[in-house]
Symmetry: C2
Subunit: 149 residues, 2 copies
DNA sequence: GTAATTGCAAAGCTTTTGCAATTTA
DNA sequence: TAAATTGCAAAAGCTTTGCAATTAC
């Protein structure tokens, strides 16, 4: 259940000697509730209803803290604010630059390309911090329709 | 020579019924001089010495105009400001998120991956508007050194 | 002369930061 | 109580915009 997830994250923080505050608990709870790809602002808004005093700066600082301790990460999906996740980045993100949709696909889908590129250029793509940007299938189909019309 | 390049770009604008102004000429000249991957702010600074009245907003507006008419494009290289180029995006950008270095590699280096991904997921990566972010060979080597130490 | 363009100042959006007041352990 | 955390307001970084004044055609 969700409470377990929150508790385990807070325990991790505690284990590292980091203080558990009311605000930190609330931010983590909100992230568990939000599930996927939430922005700092969305978290702020979620929390603002019940906790008008929890300031956005605290949300940002808590997210940074969670990231520094390896309990969360953020991805940049093209334009717009960063999106946050609990846990480890375990898949790569495909972000549609037209409709904003985000697909998560298996990391190893790109493994061959990545090693090819590494061999050819010495460059190692990091697919976790920045999404691959492009067009999702729906938007591609729509664009082709528009071209015909 | 550089003057030709500028003249040809301005001619393209004229052909589309767009007015050629002093400022627009100056911005295009600065881009020709700058060559690669220049930011709007860098262009502003270049121009500010000889033309203190040319406002940054005009640089942004001119860049947008050039992009709308297909004479320039911009790429996002991870964090930081967009970088601008005259011409068409004809290669893909590898941006090191550690040192900021940008490599340009041949488009077709990713062709197989892109079509694989398209076939598997329906998603079409756009490598022109957003760079692929990661680590360049130099930074990779340095990181490995640091790990050993 | 008229429509497009510019300078300027302001604001927009996302995020960070300095500092005094509060809270945690 | 000492040290960490928070609220607040402000600023930072990049870019866009409204409007009145200027300029190109």
């Amino acid at each position: 259940m969700a409470g377990d997830r929150t508790a385990s994250i807070l325990q991790h923080l505690k284990d590292r000697g980091i203080r558990i505050t009311v605000d930190r608990r609330l931010v983590v709870e909100a992230m568990v509730r939000a599930g996927d790809h939430v922005t700092a602002e969305e978290l702020s808004e979620m929390l603002h209803l019940a906790h008008p005093d929890l300031h956005a700066a605290t949300v940002y600082r808590t997210l940074e803290l969670l990231e520094d301790t390896g309990l969360a990460y953020h991805v940049h999906l093209g334009h717009g604010p960063a999106r946050w996740h609990l846990g480890d980045p375990s898949h790569l993100h495909l972000a549609c630059e037209r409709c904003g949709e985000v697909e998560e696909v298996d990391d190893n889908l790109l493994e061959t390309v990545k090693s090819q590129l590494l061999a050819a250029t010495g460059f190692k793509i990091d697919t976790h911090h920045f999404a691959l940007v492009g067009r999702c299938s729906r938007c591609l189909a729509q664009e082709q329709l528009n071209q015909v019309t």
